[in-house]
Amino acid sequence: MRGIEVVASGLATTIQDIGRIKYQSAGFPSSGAIDHQAHCLANALVNNEENAATIEYCLMGPTLKFTMQTFIALTGGTVQPQLNSHIVPMNQAVPVHSGDVLKIGNLKHGRFGYLAVAGGGIQVPEVLGSKSTTLRIELGGFKGRTLEEGDLLPTCDVYTMPSLASRKVSVETNNTTQIRFVKGPQWNLFSEQAQHKFMVQTYHISNQADRMGYRLRGKAIEVSQSNMLSEGTVLGNVQITRDGSPIVLLADRQTTGGYPVIATVIAADLGKLIQFSNQMAFNFVLTDIETAVKELKQQIKKIQDLRKLWQQKRYMEPIGPARKAALKIGKLF
Protein backbone atom coordinates (compact mmCIF):
# COMPACT_ATOMS: atom_id res chain seq x y z
CA MET A 1 0.00 0.00 0.00
CA ARG A 2 1.19 3.49 -0.81
CA GLY A 3 0.85 6.34 1.58
CA ILE A 4 2.65 7.76 4.55
CA GLU A 5 4.69 5.65 6.90
CA VAL A 6 5.07 6.81 10.48
CA VAL A 7 8.79 6.76 11.34
CA ALA A 8 8.45 8.51 14.71
CA SER A 9 5.05 9.20 16.22
CA GLY A 10 5.48 12.60 17.88
CA LEU A 11 3.16 13.43 20.76
CA ALA A 12 -0.58 12.80 20.84
CA THR A 13 -0.57 12.58 17.05
CA THR A 14 -4.05 11.85 15.70
CA ILE A 15 -6.14 12.06 12.54
CA GLN A 16 -8.72 14.88 12.68
CA ASP A 17 -11.23 16.60 10.44
CA ILE A 18 -13.87 19.17 11.37
CA GLY A 19 -15.57 16.80 13.77
CA ARG A 20 -18.39 14.36 14.38
CA ILE A 21 -20.90 17.10 14.92
CA LYS A 22 -24.21 15.37 14.33
CA TYR A 23 -23.99 12.66 17.00
CA GLN A 24 -23.61 14.83 20.07
CA SER A 25 -27.20 14.11 21.11
CA ALA A 26 -26.15 10.45 21.56
CA GLY A 27 -23.21 11.50 23.71
CA PHE A 28 -20.44 11.38 21.10
CA PRO A 29 -17.93 14.20 21.59
CA SER A 30 -17.65 16.22 18.40
CA SER A 31 -13.83 16.02 18.39
CA GLY A 32 -12.17 17.30 15.20
CA ALA A 33 -9.11 19.54 14.90
CA ILE A 34 -8.68 21.51 18.12
CA ASP A 35 -7.37 24.48 16.12
CA HIS A 36 -10.09 24.55 13.49
CA GLN A 37 -8.66 27.56 11.71
CA ALA A 38 -5.17 26.07 11.31
CA HIS A 39 -6.68 22.80 10.07
CA CYS A 40 -8.80 24.60 7.47
CA LEU A 41 -5.86 26.69 6.28
CA ALA A 42 -3.68 23.59 5.86
CA ASN A 43 -6.36 21.99 3.72
CA ALA A 44 -6.88 25.13 1.64
CA LEU A 45 -3.14 25.31 0.93
CA VAL A 46 -3.15 21.85 -0.68
CA ASN A 47 -6.49 22.33 -2.43
CA ASN A 48 -8.46 19.99 -0.15
CA GLU A 49 -11.96 20.64 1.07
CA GLU A 50 -12.06 21.82 4.67
CA ASN A 51 -13.28 18.50 6.02
CA ALA A 52 -10.35 16.48 4.65
CA ALA A 53 -8.52 14.60 7.41
CA THR A 54 -5.23 16.13 8.58
CA ILE A 55 -2.59 14.90 11.00
CA GLU A 56 -2.69 16.80 14.30
CA TYR A 57 0.26 16.73 16.69
CA CYS A 58 0.90 18.28 20.08
CA LEU A 59 4.21 19.88 21.15
CA MET A 60 6.27 17.37 19.16
CA GLY A 61 5.56 16.55 15.54
CA PRO A 62 6.00 13.13 13.94
CA THR A 63 8.57 12.02 11.40
CA LEU A 64 6.95 10.65 8.27
CA LYS A 65 8.11 8.84 5.17
CA PHE A 66 6.18 9.25 1.94
CA THR A 67 5.82 6.32 -0.40
CA MET A 68 3.90 8.32 -2.99
CA GLN A 69 3.93 11.69 -4.67
CA THR A 70 1.79 14.51 -3.34
CA PHE A 71 1.78 18.00 -1.83
CA ILE A 72 1.74 18.87 1.84
CA ALA A 73 1.26 21.93 4.04
CA LEU A 74 2.10 22.51 7.71
CA THR A 75 0.17 25.02 9.81
CA GLY A 76 -0.56 25.83 13.46
CA GLY A 77 2.16 25.83 16.11
CA THR A 78 5.60 26.93 14.86
CA VAL A 79 7.95 24.16 13.79
CA GLN A 80 11.10 23.96 11.72
CA PRO A 81 10.23 21.04 9.49
CA GLN A 82 12.90 19.27 7.51
CA LEU A 83 12.28 17.42 4.29
CA ASN A 84 15.24 15.11 3.67
CA SER A 85 17.25 17.30 6.04
CA HIS A 86 16.41 20.52 4.16
CA ILE A 87 14.31 23.05 6.00
CA VAL A 88 10.93 23.60 4.34
CA PRO A 89 8.59 26.50 5.08
CA MET A 90 5.35 26.32 7.03
CA ASN A 91 2.07 27.71 5.69
CA GLN A 92 2.98 26.79 2.14
CA ALA A 93 2.21 23.95 -0.25
CA VAL A 94 5.31 21.80 -0.70
CA PRO A 95 5.69 18.93 -3.18
CA VAL A 96 6.89 15.61 -1.79
CA HIS A 97 8.00 12.48 -3.61
CA SER A 98 8.25 8.81 -2.90
CA GLY A 99 11.06 8.17 -0.46
CA ASP A 100 11.02 11.67 1.06
CA VAL A 101 11.25 11.87 4.83
CA LEU A 102 9.61 14.76 6.67
CA LYS A 103 10.79 15.48 10.19
CA ILE A 104 8.45 17.96 11.78
CA GLY A 105 10.27 18.26 15.11
CA ASN A 106 9.37 20.14 18.28
CA LEU A 107 7.00 23.08 18.39
CA LYS A 108 8.81 26.34 19.13
CA HIS A 109 5.56 28.20 19.70
CA GLY A 110 2.06 26.98 20.23
CA ARG A 111 0.73 23.58 21.23
CA PHE A 112 -0.91 21.99 18.19
CA GLY A 113 0.22 21.70 14.61
CA TYR A 114 -1.30 20.28 11.42
CA LEU A 115 -0.10 18.47 8.37
CA ALA A 116 -2.46 18.42 5.40
CA VAL A 117 -1.90 16.09 2.47
CA ALA A 118 -3.30 16.84 -0.99
CA GLY A 119 -5.71 14.49 -2.72
CA GLY A 120 -8.36 14.57 -0.02
CA GLY A 121 -6.19 14.05 3.06
CA ILE A 122 -5.59 10.89 5.05
CA GLN A 123 -7.88 8.15 3.74
CA VAL A 124 -9.12 6.51 6.91
CA PRO A 125 -12.71 5.24 6.97
CA GLU A 126 -15.47 7.57 8.09
CA VAL A 127 -17.17 6.59 11.34
CA LEU A 128 -20.49 8.30 12.04
CA GLY A 129 -19.79 10.80 9.29
CA SER A 130 -16.29 11.78 10.40
CA LYS A 131 -12.67 10.71 10.26
CA SER A 132 -11.85 12.39 13.57
CA THR A 133 -10.26 10.47 16.41
CA THR A 134 -11.78 10.46 19.90
CA LEU A 135 -9.12 8.73 21.98
CA ARG A 136 -11.17 8.31 25.15
CA ILE A 137 -13.64 6.03 23.36
CA GLU A 138 -11.18 4.63 20.81
CA LEU A 139 -13.32 5.93 17.98
CA GLY A 140 -12.53 6.96 14.41
CA GLY A 141 -9.24 8.16 12.97
CA PHE A 142 -6.54 5.53 12.61
CA LYS A 143 -7.84 2.53 14.62
CA GLY A 144 -9.18 4.93 17.25
CA ARG A 145 -5.74 5.67 18.63
CA THR A 146 -2.71 7.94 18.40
CA LEU A 147 -0.30 7.19 15.58
CA GLU A 148 2.54 4.80 16.29
CA GLU A 149 5.82 3.99 14.64
CA GLY A 150 5.24 1.70 11.69
CA ASP A 151 1.67 2.79 10.94
CA LEU A 152 0.92 3.18 7.26
CA LEU A 153 -1.57 5.94 6.46
CA PRO A 154 -3.29 5.59 3.10
CA THR A 155 -3.27 8.69 0.90
CA CYS A 156 -3.77 9.39 -2.80
CA ASP A 157 -1.14 10.23 -5.37
CA VAL A 158 -1.29 13.82 -6.59
CA TYR A 159 0.92 14.96 -9.44
CA THR A 160 -0.12 18.56 -10.03
CA MET A 161 -1.20 21.47 -7.91
CA PRO A 162 -2.88 24.50 -9.46
CA SER A 163 -0.82 27.67 -8.94
CA LEU A 164 1.62 25.94 -6.64
CA ALA A 165 4.02 28.87 -6.55
CA SER A 166 1.49 31.19 -4.98
CA ARG A 167 0.14 28.71 -2.43
CA LYS A 168 1.67 30.32 0.60
CA VAL A 169 0.41 32.69 3.24
CA SER A 170 2.13 34.73 5.87
CA VAL A 171 0.37 33.99 9.13
CA GLU A 172 0.67 37.04 11.34
CA THR A 173 2.04 36.25 14.77
CA ASN A 174 -0.65 37.36 17.10
CA ASN A 175 0.67 39.17 20.12
CA THR A 176 -2.68 39.97 21.64
CA THR A 177 -3.26 38.77 25.17
CA GLN A 178 -6.95 39.50 25.05
CA ILE A 179 -9.45 36.74 24.49
CA ARG A 180 -12.93 37.93 23.65
CA PHE A 181 -16.02 36.21 24.96
CA VAL A 182 -19.79 36.54 24.89
CA LYS A 183 -21.89 36.04 28.00
CA GLY A 184 -22.52 32.38 28.72
CA PRO A 185 -25.96 30.89 29.44
CA GLN A 186 -25.38 31.09 33.22
CA TRP A 187 -23.73 34.52 33.25
CA ASN A 188 -26.53 35.83 35.45
CA LEU A 189 -25.99 33.11 38.05
CA PHE A 190 -22.76 34.87 38.98
CA SER A 191 -22.59 37.91 41.22
CA GLU A 192 -21.51 41.20 39.69
CA GLN A 193 -18.35 40.91 41.71
CA ALA A 194 -17.62 37.47 40.27
CA GLN A 195 -18.33 38.68 36.72
CA HIS A 196 -16.01 41.61 37.29
CA LYS A 197 -13.28 39.40 38.67
CA PHE A 198 -13.54 37.13 35.64
CA MET A 199 -12.96 40.10 33.35
CA VAL A 200 -10.19 41.97 35.14
CA GLN A 201 -7.94 39.23 36.37
CA THR A 202 -5.08 37.64 34.49
CA TYR A 203 -5.29 33.96 33.60
CA HIS A 204 -2.78 31.32 32.60
CA ILE A 205 -3.38 27.90 31.12
CA SER A 206 -2.67 25.27 33.77
CA ASN A 207 -0.97 21.91 33.31
CA GLN A 208 -4.39 20.30 33.07
CA ALA A 209 -4.86 21.11 29.43
CA ASP A 210 -5.76 18.62 26.73
CA ARG A 211 -8.14 18.18 23.82
CA MET A 212 -11.10 17.96 26.21
CA GLY A 213 -10.48 21.34 27.77
CA TYR A 214 -8.03 23.74 29.37
CA ARG A 215 -8.26 24.39 33.08
CA LEU A 216 -7.08 27.93 33.78
CA ARG A 217 -5.02 29.31 36.64
CA GLY A 218 -6.26 32.44 38.37
CA LYS A 219 -7.92 33.57 41.56
CA ALA A 220 -11.03 31.58 42.38
CA ILE A 221 -14.37 33.00 41.28
CA GLU A 222 -17.30 32.81 43.67
CA VAL A 223 -19.79 30.33 42.31
CA SER A 224 -23.17 29.17 43.54
CA GLN A 225 -22.89 25.68 45.02
CA SER A 226 -26.46 24.76 44.17
CA ASN A 227 -26.95 21.95 41.68
CA MET A 228 -27.62 22.88 38.08
CA LEU A 229 -29.45 20.60 35.67
CA SER A 230 -27.11 19.32 32.96
CA GLU A 231 -27.42 20.80 29.50
CA GLY A 232 -25.64 20.66 26.13
CA THR A 233 -22.13 22.10 25.88
CA VAL A 234 -20.62 24.25 23.16
CA LEU A 235 -17.06 24.65 21.91
CA GLY A 236 -15.43 27.49 23.84
CA ASN A 237 -17.79 27.34 26.84
CA VAL A 238 -16.06 28.52 30.01
CA GLN A 239 -17.37 26.47 32.94
CA ILE A 240 -16.66 27.49 36.50
CA THR A 241 -16.12 24.39 38.60
CA ARG A 242 -16.92 24.07 42.30
CA ASP A 243 -13.51 25.36 43.37
CA GLY A 244 -13.97 28.53 41.30
CA SER A 245 -11.53 27.76 38.51
CA PRO A 246 -12.52 28.05 34.86
CA ILE A 247 -12.31 25.26 32.30
CA VAL A 248 -12.52 26.16 28.61
CA LEU A 249 -14.30 23.32 26.83
CA LEU A 250 -12.63 22.19 23.62
CA ALA A 251 -12.90 19.62 20.84
CA ASP A 252 -13.17 16.41 22.92
CA ARG A 253 -15.46 17.95 25.57
CA GLN A 254 -18.35 16.00 27.04
CA THR A 255 -21.54 16.78 25.15
CA THR A 256 -23.39 17.80 28.31
CA GLY A 257 -22.27 19.47 31.48
CA GLY A 258 -23.60 20.48 34.86
CA TYR A 259 -21.27 23.32 35.83
CA PRO A 260 -22.44 26.88 35.25
CA VAL A 261 -21.07 28.43 32.07
CA ILE A 262 -20.02 32.03 32.66
CA ALA A 263 -18.76 32.74 29.15
CA THR A 264 -18.20 31.40 25.66
CA VAL A 265 -14.93 32.30 23.95
CA ILE A 266 -15.70 33.64 20.49
CA ALA A 267 -14.77 31.18 17.75
CA ALA A 268 -12.46 33.71 16.08
CA ASP A 269 -10.27 33.90 19.22
CA LEU A 270 -10.31 30.23 20.13
CA GLY A 271 -7.33 29.33 17.94
CA LYS A 272 -5.21 31.93 19.74
CA LEU A 273 -6.16 30.63 23.18
CA ILE A 274 -5.52 27.03 22.17
CA GLN A 275 -1.98 27.85 21.11
CA PHE A 276 -1.02 29.89 24.22
CA SER A 277 1.84 28.52 26.31
CA ASN A 278 1.57 28.04 30.08
CA GLN A 279 3.58 31.22 30.59
CA MET A 280 1.27 33.40 28.55
CA ALA A 281 -0.80 35.77 30.70
CA PHE A 282 -4.13 36.76 29.19
CA ASN A 283 -7.44 38.45 29.94
CA PHE A 284 -11.03 37.84 29.00
CA VAL A 285 -12.75 40.77 27.32
CA LEU A 286 -16.50 40.97 26.90
CA THR A 287 -17.84 41.46 23.40
CA ASP A 288 -21.23 41.04 21.74
CA ILE A 289 -22.66 38.42 19.42
CA GLU A 290 -22.61 40.78 16.42
CA THR A 291 -18.87 41.27 16.76
CA ALA A 292 -18.32 37.55 17.31
CA VAL A 293 -20.26 36.74 14.12
CA LYS A 294 -18.47 39.44 12.13
CA GLU A 295 -15.04 38.22 13.25
CA LEU A 296 -15.80 34.59 12.48
CA LYS A 297 -17.19 35.47 9.05
CA GLN A 298 -14.03 37.42 8.33
CA GLN A 299 -11.90 34.42 9.21
CA ILE A 300 -13.97 32.18 6.98
CA LYS A 301 -13.80 34.72 4.16
CA LYS A 302 -10.02 35.02 4.38
CA ILE A 303 -9.62 31.35 3.53
CA GLN A 304 -12.37 31.50 0.89
CA ASP A 305 -10.59 34.41 -0.78
CA LEU A 306 -7.32 32.52 -0.81
CA ARG A 307 -9.02 29.53 -2.40
CA LYS A 308 -10.53 31.77 -5.08
CA LEU A 309 -7.21 33.45 -5.74
CA TRP A 310 -5.45 30.14 -6.18
CA GLN A 311 -8.19 28.84 -8.45
CA GLN A 312 -8.08 31.95 -10.64
CA LYS A 313 -4.34 31.81 -10.94
CA ARG A 314 -4.61 28.26 -12.05
CA TYR A 315 -3.78 28.80 -15.70
CA MET A 316 -1.43 31.69 -15.23
CA GLU A 317 1.29 29.89 -13.38
CA PRO A 318 1.26 26.23 -14.21
CA ILE A 319 3.85 24.09 -12.60
CA GLY A 320 6.02 22.85 -15.43
CA PRO A 321 8.02 19.68 -15.76
CA ALA A 322 11.16 21.78 -15.51
CA ARG A 323 10.37 22.67 -11.92
CA LYS A 324 9.65 19.09 -11.00
CA ALA A 325 12.93 18.01 -12.55
CA ALA A 326 14.74 20.74 -10.68
CA LEU A 327 13.42 19.43 -7.41
CA LYS A 328 14.53 15.93 -8.24
CA ILE A 329 17.95 17.14 -9.30
CA GLY A 330 18.13 19.16 -6.10
CA LYS A 331 17.66 16.01 -4.13
CA LEU A 332 20.67 14.36 -5.68
CA PHE A 333 23.00 16.73 -3.86
Partner: protein, 244 residues
Amino acid sequence: MQKYSYSIITVGEQTVNVVFPNQINIKENLYIQHLNQLILARNDPGILASIPGYHTLTISFDIRIYDYNKIFKLIKNILEKKSFQIQSFHKRILEIPVCYDETLGPDIQDVAAFGKLSVKELIKIHTQVEYFVYMIGFLPGFAYMGTVPSQIAMPRLDRPRTKIPAGSVGIAGAQTGMYPVESPGGWRLIGQTPLKLYDAKHPKIRYQSGDFIRFKAITINEFKAIQDRDSSGEYQIKISEVGE
Protein backbone atom coordinates in the same frame (compact mmCIF):
# COMPACT_ATOMS: atom_id res chain seq x y z
CA MET B 1 -51.93 19.77 25.56
CA GLN B 2 -50.05 21.97 27.92
CA LYS B 3 -47.75 24.60 26.41
CA TYR B 4 -44.52 25.37 28.19
CA SER B 5 -43.05 28.82 28.43
CA TYR B 6 -39.63 29.20 26.88
CA SER B 7 -36.91 31.67 26.11
CA ILE B 8 -34.20 31.55 23.47
CA ILE B 9 -30.81 32.69 24.60
CA THR B 10 -27.49 32.95 22.82
CA VAL B 11 -24.70 30.66 23.97
CA GLY B 12 -22.11 31.65 21.40
CA GLU B 13 -22.05 33.05 17.89
CA GLN B 14 -23.16 29.73 16.44
CA THR B 15 -25.44 28.39 19.16
CA VAL B 16 -28.69 29.11 20.96
CA ASN B 17 -30.31 27.47 23.95
CA VAL B 18 -34.06 27.04 23.98
CA VAL B 19 -34.71 27.13 27.72
CA PHE B 20 -37.89 25.75 29.30
CA PRO B 21 -38.88 25.91 32.99
CA ASN B 22 -36.04 24.72 35.22
CA GLN B 23 -37.31 21.32 36.37
CA ILE B 24 -37.05 17.59 35.79
CA ASN B 25 -40.40 16.77 34.27
CA ILE B 26 -41.20 14.03 31.76
CA LYS B 27 -43.93 15.95 29.95
CA GLU B 28 -41.78 19.02 29.57
CA ASN B 29 -38.84 16.94 28.38
CA LEU B 30 -41.05 15.13 25.84
CA TYR B 31 -42.00 18.55 24.57
CA ILE B 32 -38.29 19.28 24.08
CA GLN B 33 -37.76 15.90 22.36
CA HIS B 34 -40.64 16.71 20.03
CA LEU B 35 -39.12 20.07 19.14
CA ASN B 36 -35.81 18.30 18.53
CA GLN B 37 -37.45 15.72 16.25
CA LEU B 38 -39.14 18.41 14.20
CA ILE B 39 -35.89 20.28 13.79
CA LEU B 40 -34.00 17.12 12.80
CA ALA B 41 -36.78 16.14 10.37
CA ARG B 42 -36.07 19.30 8.37
CA ASN B 43 -32.72 17.81 7.30
CA ASP B 44 -31.51 21.35 7.24
CA PRO B 45 -27.84 21.70 6.25
CA GLY B 46 -27.74 24.94 8.23
CA ILE B 47 -28.45 23.14 11.52
CA LEU B 48 -25.25 21.51 12.71
CA ALA B 49 -26.28 19.85 15.96
CA SER B 50 -28.98 19.82 18.60
CA ILE B 51 -28.51 18.43 22.08
CA PRO B 52 -31.48 17.89 24.40
CA GLY B 53 -30.82 18.58 28.09
CA TYR B 54 -33.22 18.15 31.02
CA HIS B 55 -34.94 21.47 30.33
CA THR B 56 -33.02 22.81 27.34
CA LEU B 57 -32.37 22.21 23.68
CA THR B 58 -28.95 23.42 22.54
CA ILE B 59 -28.97 24.17 18.81
CA SER B 60 -25.84 24.95 16.79
CA PHE B 61 -26.07 26.37 13.30
CA ASP B 62 -23.85 27.35 10.39
CA ILE B 63 -23.45 31.13 10.40
CA ARG B 64 -22.92 31.03 6.65
CA ILE B 65 -26.55 29.97 6.34
CA TYR B 66 -28.32 31.21 9.47
CA ASP B 67 -28.21 34.32 11.55
CA TYR B 68 -29.79 34.84 14.94
CA ASN B 69 -33.00 36.37 13.69
CA LYS B 70 -33.56 33.50 11.30
CA ILE B 71 -32.89 30.82 13.89
CA PHE B 72 -35.10 32.56 16.46
CA LYS B 73 -37.88 32.73 13.94
CA LEU B 74 -37.48 29.09 12.94
CA ILE B 75 -37.77 27.88 16.54
CA LYS B 76 -40.60 30.25 17.37
CA ASN B 77 -42.55 29.16 14.30
CA ILE B 78 -42.30 25.50 15.28
CA LEU B 79 -43.19 26.04 18.93
CA GLU B 80 -46.05 28.41 18.34
CA LYS B 81 -47.78 26.50 15.61
CA LYS B 82 -51.19 25.36 16.75
CA SER B 83 -50.38 21.86 15.62
CA PHE B 84 -47.29 21.69 17.83
CA GLN B 85 -48.04 18.98 20.31
CA ILE B 86 -46.93 15.54 21.20
CA GLN B 87 -49.20 13.70 18.79
CA SER B 88 -50.93 10.75 20.41
CA PHE B 89 -48.55 10.14 23.24
CA HIS B 90 -46.29 7.45 21.93
CA LYS B 91 -44.02 5.45 24.13
CA ARG B 92 -41.09 3.25 23.15
CA ILE B 93 -39.93 0.97 25.95
CA LEU B 94 -36.67 -0.96 25.73
CA GLU B 95 -36.00 -3.91 28.02
CA ILE B 96 -32.42 -3.98 29.29
CA PRO B 97 -31.34 -7.18 31.07
CA VAL B 98 -29.44 -6.57 34.30
CA CYS B 99 -27.75 -9.02 36.61
CA TYR B 100 -28.01 -7.74 40.19
CA ASP B 101 -25.43 -10.14 41.54
CA GLU B 102 -23.22 -8.56 44.16
CA THR B 103 -20.09 -9.38 42.18
CA LEU B 104 -21.41 -7.09 39.43
CA GLY B 105 -23.15 -4.50 41.60
CA PRO B 106 -20.84 -3.88 44.57
CA ASP B 107 -23.10 -1.28 46.21
CA ILE B 108 -26.32 -3.30 46.16
CA GLN B 109 -26.19 -4.13 49.89
CA ASP B 110 -25.65 -0.47 50.78
CA VAL B 111 -28.54 0.69 48.63
CA ALA B 112 -30.80 -1.99 50.09
CA ALA B 113 -29.77 -0.92 53.60
CA PHE B 114 -30.44 2.70 52.63
CA GLY B 115 -34.02 1.75 51.74
CA LYS B 116 -34.35 -0.66 54.68
CA LEU B 117 -35.05 -3.38 52.13
CA SER B 118 -33.84 -6.84 51.31
CA VAL B 119 -31.83 -7.11 48.09
CA LYS B 120 -34.75 -8.98 46.57
CA GLU B 121 -37.13 -6.13 47.37
CA LEU B 122 -34.66 -3.59 46.02
CA ILE B 123 -34.44 -5.48 42.72
CA LYS B 124 -38.21 -5.64 42.55
CA ILE B 125 -38.50 -1.89 43.00
CA HIS B 126 -35.72 -1.07 40.54
CA THR B 127 -37.22 -3.29 37.84
CA GLN B 128 -40.79 -2.13 38.32
CA VAL B 129 -40.34 1.38 37.00
CA GLU B 130 -40.20 2.51 33.39
CA TYR B 131 -37.37 4.98 33.39
CA PHE B 132 -37.52 7.91 31.04
CA VAL B 133 -34.36 8.91 29.15
CA TYR B 134 -34.17 12.68 29.59
CA MET B 135 -30.87 13.13 27.88
CA ILE B 136 -27.71 11.37 26.78
CA GLY B 137 -24.36 12.87 27.73
CA PHE B 138 -21.10 12.36 29.60
CA LEU B 139 -20.21 9.40 27.36
CA PRO B 140 -21.71 7.93 24.19
CA GLY B 141 -24.90 6.21 25.28
CA PHE B 142 -24.80 7.38 28.90
CA ALA B 143 -28.52 7.89 29.47
CA TYR B 144 -29.70 10.14 32.28
CA MET B 145 -32.85 8.37 33.43
CA GLY B 146 -35.50 8.97 36.04
CA THR B 147 -37.29 8.72 38.23
CA VAL B 148 -35.90 6.33 40.82
CA PRO B 149 -38.43 5.70 43.64
CA SER B 150 -37.36 7.78 46.63
CA GLN B 151 -36.97 4.68 48.78
CA ILE B 152 -33.90 3.57 46.83
CA ALA B 153 -32.73 6.99 45.66
CA MET B 154 -29.40 6.89 47.46
CA PRO B 155 -27.09 9.84 46.78
CA ARG B 156 -23.89 9.24 44.85
CA LEU B 157 -20.65 8.14 46.51
CA ASP B 158 -18.67 10.79 48.37
CA ARG B 159 -15.58 9.63 46.60
CA PRO B 160 -16.05 8.50 42.99
CA ARG B 161 -14.47 5.27 41.84
CA THR B 162 -11.59 5.67 39.41
CA LYS B 163 -12.71 2.70 37.34
CA ILE B 164 -16.17 1.37 36.69
CA PRO B 165 -16.64 -1.59 34.32
CA ALA B 166 -18.63 -1.03 31.13
CA GLY B 167 -22.26 -2.07 31.50
CA SER B 168 -22.49 -1.15 35.19
CA VAL B 169 -25.91 0.06 36.31
CA GLY B 170 -26.03 2.65 39.03
CA ILE B 171 -28.15 5.01 41.06
CA ALA B 172 -27.41 8.66 41.86
CA GLY B 173 -30.29 10.10 43.83
CA ALA B 174 -33.41 10.10 41.66
CA GLN B 175 -31.36 9.22 38.58
CA THR B 176 -30.38 5.82 37.30
CA GLY B 177 -28.01 5.05 34.45
CA MET B 178 -25.63 2.65 32.75
CA TYR B 179 -21.93 3.11 32.03
CA PRO B 180 -21.43 2.34 28.31
CA VAL B 181 -17.63 2.28 28.60
CA GLU B 182 -15.21 1.78 31.44
CA SER B 183 -14.81 5.12 33.16
CA PRO B 184 -14.49 6.84 36.52
CA GLY B 185 -17.78 7.62 38.25
CA GLY B 186 -19.59 8.15 41.50
CA TRP B 187 -22.91 6.37 41.03
CA ARG B 188 -23.93 3.55 43.40
CA LEU B 189 -23.51 0.35 41.42
CA ILE B 190 -26.27 -2.20 41.84
CA GLY B 191 -25.80 -4.44 38.84
CA GLN B 192 -24.52 -4.85 35.32
CA THR B 193 -26.01 -5.40 31.91
CA PRO B 194 -24.39 -7.99 29.64
CA LEU B 195 -25.16 -5.80 26.62
CA LYS B 196 -22.38 -3.93 24.92
CA LEU B 197 -23.86 -0.46 25.10
CA TYR B 198 -20.99 1.12 23.21
CA ASP B 199 -18.82 -0.61 20.65
CA ALA B 200 -16.14 1.41 18.86
CA LYS B 201 -16.45 -0.93 15.86
CA HIS B 202 -20.22 -0.50 15.59
CA PRO B 203 -20.74 2.76 17.42
CA LYS B 204 -24.50 2.92 17.17
CA ILE B 205 -26.39 3.68 20.36
CA ARG B 206 -29.52 1.53 20.60
CA TYR B 207 -31.69 4.03 22.48
CA GLN B 208 -32.16 7.75 22.42
CA SER B 209 -33.43 10.51 24.62
CA GLY B 210 -37.22 10.34 24.85
CA ASP B 211 -37.23 6.53 25.11
CA PHE B 212 -38.23 4.57 28.20
CA ILE B 213 -36.10 1.81 29.65
CA ARG B 214 -37.21 -1.04 31.89
CA PHE B 215 -34.65 -3.26 33.58
CA LYS B 216 -35.16 -7.01 33.69
CA ALA B 217 -33.44 -9.02 36.38
CA ILE B 218 -31.38 -11.95 35.08
CA THR B 219 -29.18 -14.57 36.72
CA ILE B 220 -25.43 -14.73 36.39
CA ASN B 221 -25.79 -17.67 33.99
CA GLU B 222 -28.20 -15.75 31.79
CA PHE B 223 -25.75 -12.83 31.97
CA LYS B 224 -23.02 -14.89 30.34
CA ALA B 225 -25.38 -16.37 27.75
CA ILE B 226 -26.72 -12.96 26.72
CA GLN B 227 -23.22 -11.52 26.63
CA ASP B 228 -22.19 -14.20 24.14
CA ARG B 229 -25.27 -13.72 21.99
CA ASP B 230 -24.91 -9.94 22.07
CA SER B 231 -21.25 -9.97 21.08
CA SER B 232 -22.06 -12.15 18.07
CA GLY B 233 -24.87 -9.78 17.14
CA GLU B 234 -27.68 -12.26 17.84
CA TYR B 235 -29.28 -10.55 20.80
CA GLN B 236 -32.24 -8.29 20.08
CA ILE B 237 -33.33 -5.81 22.71
CA LYS B 238 -37.02 -6.34 23.41
CA ILE B 239 -38.87 -3.20 22.40
CA SER B 240 -42.51 -2.52 23.09
CA GLU B 241 -44.38 0.44 21.77
CA VAL B 242 -47.36 1.89 23.50
CA GLY B 243 -49.59 4.44 21.85
CA GLU B 244 -52.53 6.23 23.28
